[in-house]
Subunit: 190 residues, 2 copies
Protein backbone atom coordinates (compact mmCIF):
# COMPACT_ATOMS: atom_id res chain seq x y z
CA UNK A 1 0.00 0.00 0.00
CA UNK A 2 1.27 3.48 -0.88
CA UNK A 3 0.99 6.03 1.92
CA UNK A 4 1.63 9.76 1.44
CA UNK A 5 3.11 11.45 4.50
CA UNK A 6 2.11 15.10 4.12
CA UNK A 7 4.18 17.74 5.91
CA UNK A 8 1.59 20.47 6.52
CA UNK A 9 3.85 23.35 7.59
CA UNK A 10 5.70 25.47 5.06
CA UNK A 11 7.09 28.49 6.93
CA UNK A 12 10.86 29.07 6.80
CA UNK A 13 11.47 28.30 10.50
CA UNK A 14 9.17 25.26 10.62
CA UNK A 15 10.13 22.09 12.45
CA UNK A 16 7.52 19.90 10.75
CA UNK A 17 9.93 18.30 8.29
CA UNK A 18 12.29 17.25 11.11
CA UNK A 19 9.40 15.93 13.21
CA UNK A 20 8.23 13.94 10.21
CA UNK A 21 11.61 12.22 9.85
CA UNK A 22 11.45 11.35 13.53
CA UNK A 23 7.90 9.97 13.17
CA UNK A 24 8.92 7.80 10.24
CA UNK A 25 11.84 6.45 12.26
CA UNK A 26 9.46 5.48 15.07
CA UNK A 27 7.11 3.48 12.88
CA UNK A 28 7.76 -0.20 13.32
CA UNK A 29 8.55 -1.63 9.92
CA UNK A 30 5.33 -2.60 8.24
CA UNK A 31 6.30 -4.48 5.12
CA UNK A 32 3.02 -3.77 3.42
CA UNK A 33 3.41 0.02 3.75
CA UNK A 34 5.38 2.11 1.29
CA UNK A 35 5.74 5.56 2.88
CA UNK A 36 6.58 8.63 0.79
CA UNK A 37 7.13 12.12 2.24
CA UNK A 38 5.15 14.84 0.50
CA UNK A 39 6.53 18.23 1.50
CA UNK A 40 4.11 21.11 0.90
CA UNK A 41 7.01 23.59 1.06
CA UNK A 42 8.54 21.88 -1.96
CA UNK A 43 5.20 21.71 -3.78
CA UNK A 44 4.71 25.46 -3.25
CA UNK A 45 1.07 25.45 -4.38
CA UNK A 46 -0.34 28.97 -4.86
CA UNK A 47 -3.39 30.00 -2.82
CA UNK A 48 -6.33 28.17 -4.41
CA UNK A 49 -6.95 29.74 -7.81
CA UNK A 50 -8.91 27.17 -9.80
CA UNK A 51 -12.05 28.64 -11.38
CA UNK A 52 -14.13 25.46 -10.96
CA UNK A 53 -14.86 23.55 -7.75
CA UNK A 54 -12.61 20.47 -7.43
CA UNK A 55 -15.52 18.06 -6.90
CA UNK A 56 -16.41 18.50 -10.58
CA UNK A 57 -13.39 16.37 -11.45
CA UNK A 58 -9.88 16.59 -12.78
CA UNK A 59 -10.91 17.37 -16.33
CA UNK A 60 -11.76 20.89 -15.10
CA UNK A 61 -8.35 21.64 -13.57
CA UNK A 62 -6.85 24.67 -15.29
CA UNK A 63 -3.16 24.50 -14.33
CA UNK A 64 -0.45 21.90 -14.88
CA UNK A 65 0.53 22.21 -11.21
CA UNK A 66 -2.97 21.24 -10.09
CA UNK A 67 -2.87 18.24 -12.44
CA UNK A 68 0.52 17.17 -11.02
CA UNK A 69 -0.83 17.51 -7.46
CA UNK A 70 -3.89 15.50 -8.48
CA UNK A 71 -1.77 12.65 -9.88
CA UNK A 72 0.42 12.56 -6.77
CA UNK A 73 -2.54 12.30 -4.38
CA UNK A 74 -4.48 9.91 -6.61
CA UNK A 75 -1.48 7.54 -6.56
CA UNK A 76 -1.74 7.01 -2.78
CA UNK A 77 -3.97 4.57 -0.88
CA UNK A 78 -3.88 6.49 2.40
CA UNK A 79 -2.24 9.41 4.17
CA UNK A 80 -0.48 10.58 7.30
CA UNK A 81 -0.98 14.32 7.83
CA UNK A 82 1.53 16.11 10.10
CA UNK A 83 0.04 19.42 11.19
CA UNK A 84 1.15 22.24 13.47
CA UNK A 85 -1.48 24.26 15.34
CA UNK A 86 -1.73 27.98 14.55
CA UNK A 87 -4.21 29.97 16.64
CA UNK A 88 -6.15 26.84 17.65
CA UNK A 89 -6.64 25.81 14.00
CA UNK A 90 -4.85 24.13 11.09
CA UNK A 91 -2.38 26.14 8.98
CA UNK A 92 -3.49 27.72 5.70
CA UNK A 93 -0.77 25.77 3.86
CA UNK A 94 -2.36 22.41 4.76
CA UNK A 95 -5.97 23.46 4.15
CA UNK A 96 -4.99 24.97 0.81
CA UNK A 97 -3.33 21.76 -0.37
CA UNK A 98 -6.35 19.70 0.67
CA UNK A 99 -8.92 22.06 -0.90
CA UNK A 100 -7.26 21.84 -4.33
CA UNK A 101 -8.68 18.35 -4.87
CA UNK A 102 -11.70 16.27 -3.95
CA UNK A 103 -12.18 12.89 -5.59
CA UNK A 104 -8.46 12.12 -5.14
CA UNK A 105 -8.96 12.08 -1.32
CA UNK A 106 -12.38 10.53 -1.19
CA UNK A 107 -12.80 7.23 0.66
CA UNK A 108 -9.14 6.99 1.71
CA UNK A 109 -8.04 6.42 5.32
CA UNK A 110 -5.76 8.88 7.11
CA UNK A 111 -3.83 9.49 10.31
CA UNK A 112 -3.68 13.03 11.72
CA UNK A 113 -0.58 13.81 13.80
CA UNK A 114 -0.52 17.26 15.42
CA UNK A 115 2.21 19.12 17.28
CA UNK A 116 2.22 22.23 19.47
CA UNK A 117 3.17 23.20 23.00
CA UNK A 118 0.07 21.41 24.24
CA UNK A 119 -0.11 18.92 21.39
CA UNK A 120 -2.35 20.76 18.93
CA UNK A 121 -5.51 18.79 19.65
CA UNK A 122 -7.78 21.67 18.61
CA UNK A 123 -6.18 21.87 15.14
CA UNK A 124 -6.37 18.08 14.82
CA UNK A 125 -10.08 18.05 15.72
CA UNK A 126 -10.84 20.79 13.19
CA UNK A 127 -8.81 19.02 10.51
CA UNK A 128 -10.59 15.74 11.25
CA UNK A 129 -13.89 17.47 10.45
CA UNK A 130 -12.40 18.68 7.14
CA UNK A 131 -11.33 15.12 6.23
CA UNK A 132 -14.86 13.95 7.02
CA UNK A 133 -16.15 16.69 4.72
CA UNK A 134 -13.94 15.16 2.02
CA UNK A 135 -15.43 11.72 2.76
CA UNK A 136 -12.06 10.44 4.00
CA UNK A 137 -11.75 7.93 6.86
CA UNK A 138 -9.55 9.35 9.65
CA UNK A 139 -8.51 6.68 12.14
CA UNK A 140 -9.54 7.00 15.77
CA UNK A 141 -6.09 7.51 17.31
CA UNK A 142 -4.74 11.03 16.74
CA UNK A 143 -1.18 11.34 18.06
CA UNK A 144 -0.61 14.83 19.53
CA UNK A 145 3.01 15.71 20.20
CA UNK A 146 3.62 18.19 23.02
CA UNK A 147 6.71 20.21 22.12
CA UNK A 148 9.03 20.56 25.09
CA UNK A 149 12.32 22.23 25.85
CA UNK A 150 14.01 18.81 25.63
CA UNK A 151 13.57 18.94 21.85
CA UNK A 152 15.32 22.26 21.25
CA UNK A 153 18.89 23.45 21.28
CA UNK A 154 19.80 26.54 23.32
CA UNK A 155 19.33 28.81 20.29
CA UNK A 156 15.81 27.52 19.63
CA UNK A 157 16.43 25.10 16.75
CA UNK A 158 15.16 21.52 16.90
CA UNK A 159 17.83 19.09 18.10
CA UNK A 160 19.00 16.20 15.96
CA UNK A 161 16.65 13.26 16.40
CA UNK A 162 19.28 11.21 18.24
CA UNK A 163 19.42 13.87 20.96
CA UNK A 164 15.80 13.63 22.04
CA UNK A 165 15.08 10.00 21.30
CA UNK A 166 14.57 9.16 24.97
CA UNK A 167 11.87 11.84 25.25
CA UNK A 168 10.39 10.87 21.90
CA UNK A 169 10.05 7.25 22.96
CA UNK A 170 6.86 8.06 24.87
CA UNK A 171 5.14 8.51 21.49
CA UNK A 172 6.17 5.17 19.98
CA UNK A 173 3.07 3.41 21.30
CA UNK A 174 0.47 5.88 20.10
CA UNK A 175 2.10 6.27 16.66
CA UNK A 176 2.17 2.54 16.07
CA UNK A 177 -1.40 2.18 17.36
CA UNK A 178 -2.50 4.71 14.71
CA UNK A 179 -0.50 2.82 12.06
CA UNK A 180 -2.22 -0.42 13.05
CA UNK A 181 -5.61 1.27 12.68
CA UNK A 182 -4.56 2.63 9.28
CA UNK A 183 -3.67 -0.87 8.13
CA UNK A 184 -7.05 -2.19 9.24
CA UNK A 185 -8.79 0.61 7.31
CA UNK A 186 -6.63 -0.07 4.24
CA UNK A 187 -7.62 -3.71 4.27
CA UNK A 188 -11.32 -2.80 4.37
CA UNK A 189 -11.28 -0.52 1.34
CA UNK A 190 -14.62 1.04 0.56
CA UNK B 1 -15.69 53.17 15.46
CA UNK B 2 -13.77 51.74 12.50
CA UNK B 3 -14.90 48.30 11.38
CA UNK B 4 -12.99 46.20 8.83
CA UNK B 5 -15.23 44.02 6.66
CA UNK B 6 -12.98 41.18 5.55
CA UNK B 7 -13.87 39.26 2.40
CA UNK B 8 -12.39 35.84 3.11
CA UNK B 9 -12.67 34.23 -0.33
CA UNK B 10 -10.13 34.93 -3.07
CA UNK B 11 -10.75 32.43 -5.85
CA UNK B 12 -11.49 33.77 -9.33
CA UNK B 13 -15.12 32.60 -9.39
CA UNK B 14 -15.92 33.63 -5.81
CA UNK B 15 -19.18 35.33 -4.92
CA UNK B 16 -17.98 36.64 -1.54
CA UNK B 17 -17.35 40.19 -2.72
CA UNK B 18 -20.89 40.47 -4.11
CA UNK B 19 -22.40 38.97 -0.96
CA UNK B 20 -20.43 41.47 1.08
CA UNK B 21 -21.91 44.40 -0.84
CA UNK B 22 -25.35 42.96 -0.22
CA UNK B 23 -24.61 42.54 3.51
CA UNK B 24 -23.45 46.11 3.81
CA UNK B 25 -26.60 47.30 2.07
CA UNK B 26 -28.70 45.40 4.64
CA UNK B 27 -27.07 46.94 7.66
CA UNK B 28 -29.32 49.59 9.12
CA UNK B 29 -27.32 52.82 9.22
CA UNK B 30 -25.39 52.94 12.46
CA UNK B 31 -23.90 56.41 12.62
CA UNK B 32 -21.17 55.35 14.98
CA UNK B 33 -19.84 52.66 12.60
CA UNK B 34 -17.42 53.40 9.80
CA UNK B 35 -17.32 50.26 7.63
CA UNK B 36 -14.42 49.59 5.26
CA UNK B 37 -14.22 46.58 2.92
CA UNK B 38 -10.93 44.69 3.10
CA UNK B 39 -10.66 42.37 0.11
CA UNK B 40 -8.13 39.56 0.59
CA UNK B 41 -8.01 39.00 -3.18
CA UNK B 42 -6.70 42.56 -3.57
CA UNK B 43 -4.25 42.16 -0.68
CA UNK B 44 -2.85 39.01 -2.29
CA UNK B 45 -0.82 37.97 0.77
CA UNK B 46 1.59 35.10 0.05
CA UNK B 47 1.26 31.90 2.07
CA UNK B 48 2.65 32.72 5.53
CA UNK B 49 6.39 33.16 5.17
CA UNK B 50 7.50 35.18 8.20
CA UNK B 51 10.42 33.56 10.04
CA UNK B 52 9.25 34.66 13.51
CA UNK B 53 5.91 33.94 15.17
CA UNK B 54 3.57 36.98 14.95
CA UNK B 55 2.89 37.10 18.71
CA UNK B 56 6.45 38.36 19.18
CA UNK B 57 5.35 41.72 17.80
CA UNK B 58 5.50 43.87 14.69
CA UNK B 59 9.16 44.77 15.12
CA UNK B 60 9.95 41.22 13.94
CA UNK B 61 7.97 41.40 10.69
CA UNK B 62 10.34 40.86 7.79
CA UNK B 63 8.39 42.13 4.77
CA UNK B 64 6.86 45.49 3.89
CA UNK B 65 3.62 43.74 2.93
CA UNK B 66 3.28 42.22 6.41
CA UNK B 67 3.87 45.68 7.92
CA UNK B 68 1.18 47.19 5.66
CA UNK B 69 -1.25 44.43 6.64
CA UNK B 70 -0.39 45.02 10.29
CA UNK B 71 -1.15 48.75 10.03
CA UNK B 72 -4.44 48.12 8.26
CA UNK B 73 -5.69 45.68 10.91
CA UNK B 74 -4.31 47.72 13.82
CA UNK B 75 -6.33 50.71 12.59
CA UNK B 76 -9.67 48.93 13.12
CA UNK B 77 -11.72 48.61 16.31
CA UNK B 78 -13.64 45.52 15.23
CA UNK B 79 -14.29 43.22 12.28
CA UNK B 80 -16.91 41.49 10.20
CA UNK B 81 -15.51 38.33 8.59
CA UNK B 82 -17.36 36.97 5.54
CA UNK B 83 -16.34 33.34 5.00
CA UNK B 84 -17.30 30.63 2.56
CA UNK B 85 -17.18 26.99 3.69
CA UNK B 86 -14.76 24.66 1.89
CA UNK B 87 -14.88 21.00 2.91
CA UNK B 88 -16.57 21.78 6.25
CA UNK B 89 -13.83 24.29 7.19
CA UNK B 90 -12.67 27.86 6.57
CA UNK B 91 -10.72 28.70 3.39
CA UNK B 92 -6.92 28.85 3.46
CA UNK B 93 -7.05 32.45 2.21
CA UNK B 94 -8.85 33.64 5.35
CA UNK B 95 -6.80 31.59 7.83
CA UNK B 96 -3.60 32.76 6.16
CA UNK B 97 -4.56 36.44 6.50
CA UNK B 98 -5.46 35.97 10.16
CA UNK B 99 -2.31 33.98 11.03
CA UNK B 100 -0.02 36.75 9.73
CA UNK B 101 -0.71 38.88 12.82
CA UNK B 102 -1.52 38.49 16.48
CA UNK B 103 -1.53 41.57 18.70
CA UNK B 104 -3.37 43.55 16.00
CA UNK B 105 -6.45 41.28 16.46
CA UNK B 106 -6.23 40.77 20.19
CA UNK B 107 -9.15 41.94 22.32
CA UNK B 108 -11.25 43.16 19.38
CA UNK B 109 -14.87 42.09 18.79
CA UNK B 110 -15.95 40.42 15.56
CA UNK B 111 -18.93 39.13 13.63
CA UNK B 112 -18.57 35.93 11.59
CA UNK B 113 -20.88 35.64 8.57
CA UNK B 114 -20.69 32.36 6.67
CA UNK B 115 -22.23 31.24 3.39
CA UNK B 116 -22.67 27.87 1.72
CA UNK B 117 -25.48 25.70 0.40
CA UNK B 118 -26.42 24.90 3.99
CA UNK B 119 -25.10 28.13 5.48
CA UNK B 120 -21.53 27.15 6.34
CA UNK B 121 -22.10 26.73 10.07
CA UNK B 122 -19.25 24.21 10.41
CA UNK B 123 -16.70 26.67 8.95
CA UNK B 124 -18.08 29.45 11.15
CA UNK B 125 -17.76 27.32 14.30
CA UNK B 126 -14.16 26.38 13.43
CA UNK B 127 -13.32 30.02 12.66
CA UNK B 128 -14.89 31.14 15.94
CA UNK B 129 -12.45 28.86 17.77
CA UNK B 130 -9.56 30.46 15.85
CA UNK B 131 -10.72 33.96 16.87
CA UNK B 132 -10.87 32.78 20.48
CA UNK B 133 -7.31 31.49 20.08
CA UNK B 134 -6.39 35.03 19.01
CA UNK B 135 -8.12 36.42 22.13
CA UNK B 136 -10.75 38.15 20.00
CA UNK B 137 -14.37 38.54 21.11
CA UNK B 138 -16.73 37.00 18.51
CA UNK B 139 -20.36 38.02 19.08
CA UNK B 140 -22.96 35.38 19.80
CA UNK B 141 -25.04 35.73 16.64
CA UNK B 142 -23.37 34.14 13.60
CA UNK B 143 -25.41 34.80 10.44
CA UNK B 144 -25.24 31.80 8.09
CA UNK B 145 -26.47 32.45 4.57
CA UNK B 146 -27.91 29.45 2.73
CA UNK B 147 -27.14 29.89 -0.95
CA UNK B 148 -30.18 29.08 -3.09
CA UNK B 149 -31.06 28.96 -6.74
CA UNK B 150 -32.89 32.28 -6.32
CA UNK B 151 -29.53 34.04 -6.06
CA UNK B 152 -28.07 32.78 -9.31
CA UNK B 153 -28.59 33.53 -12.96
CA UNK B 154 -29.20 30.65 -15.37
CA UNK B 155 -25.49 30.46 -16.25
CA UNK B 156 -24.47 30.14 -12.59
CA UNK B 157 -23.32 33.70 -11.82
CA UNK B 158 -24.68 35.58 -8.82
CA UNK B 159 -27.58 37.87 -9.74
CA UNK B 160 -27.43 41.59 -9.18
CA UNK B 161 -28.42 42.37 -5.62
CA UNK B 162 -31.66 44.04 -6.69
CA UNK B 163 -32.81 40.77 -8.23
CA UNK B 164 -32.75 38.70 -5.06
CA UNK B 165 -33.56 41.34 -2.48
CA UNK B 166 -36.88 39.74 -1.58
CA UNK B 167 -35.13 36.45 -0.76
CA UNK B 168 -32.29 38.28 0.99
CA UNK B 169 -34.70 40.14 3.24
CA UNK B 170 -35.00 37.07 5.48
CA UNK B 171 -31.45 37.81 6.69
CA UNK B 172 -32.00 41.47 7.61
CA UNK B 173 -32.98 40.62 11.18
CA UNK B 174 -30.08 38.33 12.01
CA UNK B 175 -27.49 40.64 10.43
CA UNK B 176 -28.70 43.65 12.38
CA UNK B 177 -28.90 41.58 15.58
CA UNK B 178 -25.20 40.73 15.13
CA UNK B 179 -24.42 44.41 14.44
CA UNK B 180 -26.20 45.42 17.64
CA UNK B 181 -24.12 42.88 19.58
CA UNK B 182 -20.96 44.22 17.94
CA UNK B 183 -21.83 47.74 19.08
CA UNK B 184 -22.36 46.55 22.64
CA UNK B 185 -18.96 44.81 22.57
CA UNK B 186 -17.32 47.93 21.11
CA UNK B 187 -18.69 50.07 23.90
CA UNK B 188 -17.28 47.69 26.51
CA UNK B 189 -13.70 47.70 25.24
CA UNK B 190 -11.38 45.49 27.21
Amino acid sequence: MNIGVIIGSTRPSRIGHQLTKWLLSIITVKHSLNLEMIDLAEWDLPLFNEPEIPAKGEQYYSSEKTRQWSRKIASKDGFIFITPQYNWGYPASLKNAVDYLYNEWSGKPAIIVSYANRGGGKAAAQFRQVLEGLKMRPVETMPAICLTKDMYTENGALKEIEDYKKFAAIYDGVINKAIDELQIELSSKR
